[in-house]
C-alpha cells in the first residue's frame, strides 16, 4: 500500500510535449507509472512518448479515464492548468511549476473549493513517488527504496537528501510527498500525515519543514493528539535572519509562529523527536 498513488493510478501529463514535460514523463514511464496520455493544446490527435496527446484535459479524461495529472507548464499558464484539471474531474493534481504568482494561487485555491474531490499537490513541488511503483513529478527514483517510512517535505533537495540517507540505511519508504515551498499551497503537512495514518504500510514518518507559515505547527498539533507512527521532524532555516526573504523558501517570518524555534517546540511538545541535522534523522527514526 501507499498513499495517493499506486500502480493502477492512471496519469496524464499537462504540457507533455514540452522539454521538461517530455523528460520527466520518460522518467515516470521508466519506473512503471501508468501514464495514459498528455495534453498540449493544438497537438491533439498526435502521439508522444508512446501515449496519445489531447487538446484539453476534459478530452484526455474522457478517452483515458485518467484520475491524476502532473503539470509541467510555465508559470503564466499553470494556474489555468490546475483549474482545468479539477474541472475535468482529476482528483490528484500535481503541479511542479515554480514561480506562480501568489495572487493566482489564491484564486486557484478559491476555485478548488468547488471541487472538493480534487487534491492539489504544490505548486513549486517535486511531486510524489511510491518507490518501485509509480511517481508523478521529478523525485529521482534512484534515491528511493520501497518500505514503511512516510516522508513528507517542503523542500525538494532536502527530500532527496533524506530519502537517499533512509534508503542507504535500509529504511525504505511507503510514499515520498513533496508539498512544495510556496506560501500558498495545495496539500498541507496535516493533510498528508492524515493519509499516512490511514495507510497500513506506513509505520514511520519523517516531516521535513522549514521556516515560514504555520503548517508545521498544525502538523505537530495533529500528531500530538495521538499517532501510531514513529515520527522524526526536521526544520531547516534556524539561522536564517528574520525578515529576509530567501528565494522560494517562504521565509517571511510572522508573529511568534513561523520561526524554526516555534516549529521545533511544537513538535517536541507533541512528543515528536526533532533532528538537529539531516544526518541525525535516520538514527532517531530507528
Amino acid at each position: 500500500m501507499s498513499i495517493l498513488l499506486d500502480a493502477s493510478t492512471r496519469v496524464i501529463v499537462q504540457g507533455i510535449t514540452g522539454r521538461e514535460g517530455s523528460f520527466h514523463t520518460e522518467q515516470m514511464q521508466a519506473m512503471g507509472t501508468k501514464v495514459v496520455g498528455g495534453t498540449s493544446p493544438g497537438k491533439g490527435g498526435t502521439t508522444h512518448l508512446g501515449v496519445p496527446v489531447f487538446n484539453t484535459v476534459a478530452d484526455a479524461v474522457k478517452a483515458t479515464g485518467a484520475s491524476a495529472s502532473g503539470i509541467f507548464v510555465p508559470p503564466p499558464f499553470a494556474p489555468d492548468a490546475i483549474m482545468e484539471a479539477a474541472a475535468a474531474g482529476i482528483t490528484l493534481i500535481v503541479c511542479i511549476t515554480e514561480g506562480i504568482p501568489i495572487q493566482d494561487m489564491i484564486r486557484v485555491k478559491d476555485f478548488l473549493r468547488g471541487y472538493p474531490a480534487a487534491r492539489l499537490l504544490g505548486a513549486n513541488c517535486p511531486g510524489l513517488i511510491t518507490p518501485g511503483v509509480a511517481k508523478i513529478g521529478i523525485i529521482p527514483q534512484r534515491i528511493t527504496k520501497a518500505g514503511h517510512v512516510g516522508l513528507v517535505s517542503r523542500s525538494g533537495t532536502l527530500t532527496y537528501e533524506v530519502g537517499s540517507a533512509l534508503s542507504a540505511s535500509g529504511m525504505g519508504q511507503s510514499t515520498i510527498v513533496g508539498i512544495g515551498g510556496d506560501p500558498v499551497l495545495g496539500l498541507t503537512f496535516k493533510d498528508v500525515i492524515e493519509l499516512f495514518e490511514q495507510d497500513p504500510q506506513t509505520t514511520h514518518l519523517v516531516v521535513i519543514g522549514e521556516i515560514g507559515g504555520s503548517d508545521e505547527e498544525h502538523a505537530a498539533e495533529l500528531l500530538g493528539r495521538g499517532s501510531r507512527l514513529k515520527t522524526v521532524a526536521f526544520i531547516s532555516g534556524r539561522t536564517a535572519p528574520e525578515g529576509k526573504r530567501m528565494g522560494h523558501a517562504g521565509a517571511i517570518i510572522s508573529g511568534n509562529r513561523g520561526t524554526a524555534k516555534s516549529k521545533e517546540e511544537a513538535f517536541r511538545k507533541a512528543g515528536v523527536a526533532v533532528a538537529e541535522t539531516t544526518d541525525d534523522i535516520v538514527g532517531l527514526l530507528r
Binding site: 522518467q27 508559470p75 514561480g99 506562480i100 504568482p101 501568489i102 495572487q103 493566482d104 494561487m105 489564491i106 484564486r107 485555491k109 478559491d110 521529478i138 523525485i139 529521482p140 534512484r142 534515491i143 517535505s153 517542503r154 523542500s155 525538494g156 533537495t157 532536502l158 527530500t159 532527496y160 537528501e161 537517499s164 515551498g181 506560501p183 500558498v184 499551497l185 521535513i208 522549514e210 521556516i211 515560514g212 507559515g213 504555520s214 503548517d215 498544525h218 526536521f234 531547516s236 532555516g237 534556524r238 539561522t239 536564517a240 535572519p241 529576509k244 526573504r245 530567501m246 528565494g247 522560494h248 523558501a249 517562504g250 521565509a251 508573529g255 538537529e276 541535522t277 539531516t278 544526518d279
Partner: protein, 378 residues
C-alpha cells in the same frame, strides 16, 4: 519587491488615494529647496525596512536650513543594513485621528486578509497581541474583490461606522493593488483623518510579488534600482541568482532553498558564520556555479566557500567539472570545500580531489572542514 514609502505613495495616489504633498530629495540642497516650496516638512529616510523613526531616520524641519541639515544627517545613514539613498520631504498633516488599514496574504487561510483598526498610528503588532478584537478582518473573494456590504461590515466592526462611506471607498481603491499590481502586502499606518475630515495616507508600505514581475515590467523599470542595500545582492540579481547577504565569512552555495538553509544551519553549528545564502537551483549548471562563485568572491569578508550540492538528476561528474572550471576561470585562491552527492558522486569526488578541491563525505563533515580551514587562514 518592497517599494519605498514615496514609491508606495505614488502608487496609492495613482489608485486614487489621497497622500500629503511631498518631494524626493537626493541631496541636502534638494531637501532645502523642497522645504522652501512646501513649508515645514518631515524629512524621512527612504529604506525598505520598518523602524526608521527609532533609528533617527525621520526629522522635522521648519526652515530650508533645517531641512538641509536633516538631509545631511540622514542621507547615507545605515538603517538595518540599508544605506539611505534619498529622503522624502513631506508636509505635516493636521491629525484628527489615526487608523490602521492593511492587507496581506494569510498563509494559513490561503487567502488575502484585509485588516482595519481604529487603533492606528502605533505598533499594530502590539494591538494585535493585546486586543485582537480591535482589528476587524475580512477575507475578500479573490475573484470579485470585496463587496460594498462586506466593507460596511468591516468598517462598523472596527468601530469606525461614522466613516463608513469614505473608508469603504478608500479600501476599494487600495484593494485594486491586488488584482492590478500583484501586491502581496500593503499597509497604510497611520491612515490619517485630518481635522477637516479628509482621509489621507500618512505612511505607506507596499510589497509586490516578484513571481509576477513579468506582468508588471513598468513597476520594475520605475522602482527596481532605487534602493540597493547591498552591492553583492545587486550583482547577484543582475546575474539571475537567488542570493541574500549575511554577515559572516563563509560563502555558501547550495542547490534548493531548503538544502541551502540547512547548510547555513550546519555552518553555524560547526562554529562558523555564513556570508550569504545562495541557491543555484536544481540543475547546478556550470555557468550558474561560476556566477555564484563570482558574486561570493566579490565580498572581501569571505575567507572560504562551502558548496553543498545534492544531484537528483544532475550528474556529479558534470557538477565537479563545472566547479573546477569556474574556480580556475575566477583564479580563486580561498579554501573551497564541496559536498557532492547524488548520481555519479564517486566520479565527481575524484575530479574534485585531482584538482585540489576538498570533497566532504557528508554535509556536516564539509561544514566542519570549511570552518576549520577558514579559522586557520584567519
Amino acid at each position: 519587491m518592497k517599494l519605498l514609502e514615496y514609491q508606495a505613495k505614488e502608487v496609492l495616489h495613482s489608485l486614487g488615494i489621497a497622500i500629503p504633498a511631498g518631494k524626493v530629495a537626493r541631496t541636502p540642497d534638494e531637501a532645502a529647496a523642497a522645504c522652501a516650496q512646501l513649508g515645514p516638512v518631515a524629512v524621512k529616510a527612504q529604506v525598505p525596512v520598518g523602524g526608521r523613526g527609532k533609528a533617527g531616520g525621520i526629522k522635522l524641519a521648519a526652515t530650508p536650513e533645517e531641512a538641509r541639515k536633516a538631509a545631511e544627517q540622514i542621507i547615507g545613514m545605515d538603517i538595518k543594513g540599508f544605506k539611505v539613498p534619498l529622503v522624502y520631504c513631506e508636509t505635516a498633516l493636521e491629525i484628527g485621528r489615526e487608523i490602521y488599514l492593511g492587507f496581506t496574504v494569510d498563509r494559513d487561510a490561503r487567502a488575502n486578509i484585509l485588516m482595519l483598526s481604529a487603533k492606528g498610528g502605533m505598533e499594530i503588532e502590539q494591538v494585535a497581541e493585546e486586543s485582537p478584537e480591535s482589528i476587524a478582518r475580512l477575507y475578500p473573494n479573490p475573484w470579485r474583490g470585496p463587496l460594498d456590504f462586506e466593507l460596511t461590515q468591516l468598517v462598523f466592526d472596527a468601530g469606525l461606522g461614522e466613516l463608513a462611506r469614505p473608508l469603504g471607498a478608500l479600501i476599494k481603491k487600495l484593494y485594486r493593488a491586488i488584482p492590478e499590481l500583484d501586491a502581496i502586502t500593503a499597509e497604510i499606518n497611520p491612515l490619517v483623518v485630518t481635522k477637516n475630515g479628509e482621509v489621507i495616507a500618512g505612511d505607506a508600505k507596499l510589497e509586490v510579488d516578484e513571481n509576477a514581475a513579468w506582468r508588471h515590467k513598468d513597476l520594475e523599470e520605475r522602482y527596481g534600482d532605487v534602493v540597493e542595500g547591498d552591492p553583492y545582492e545587486v550583482e547577484a540579481k543582475k546575474r539571475g541568482l537567488t542570493y541574500v547577504s549575511l554577515d559572516g565569512e563563509i560563502g555558501i552555495i547550495g542547490n534548493g532553498a531548503g538544502l541551502c538553509m540547512s547548510t547555513l544551519d550546519l555552518v553555524q553549528r560547526a562554529g562558523g558564520r555564513a556570508a550569504n545564502f545562495c541557491d543555484i537551483g536544481g540543475g547546478a549548471k556550470a555557468e550558474v556555479v561560476e556566477n555564484a562563485l563570482a558574486v561570493i568572491l566579490m565580498n572581501p569578508r569571505v575567507k572560504g566557500v562551502l558548496m553543498n550540492v545534492f544531484g537528483g538528476i544532475t550528474r556529479g561528474d558534470e557538477v565537479a567539472k563545472g566547479l573546477v572550471h569556474a574556480r580556475d576561470n575566477l583564479k580563486m585562491q580561498l579554501p573551497l570545500v564541496v559536498r557532492l552527492s547524488g548520481t555519479r558522486e564517486e566520479e565527481g569526488r575524484k575530479i574534485l580531489k585531482e584538482n585540489g578541491i576538498e570533497p566532504g563525505a557528508n554535509a556536516w563533515e564539509a561544514a566542519q572542514k570549511i570552518v576549520e580551514l577558514t579559522r586557520v587562514k584567519a
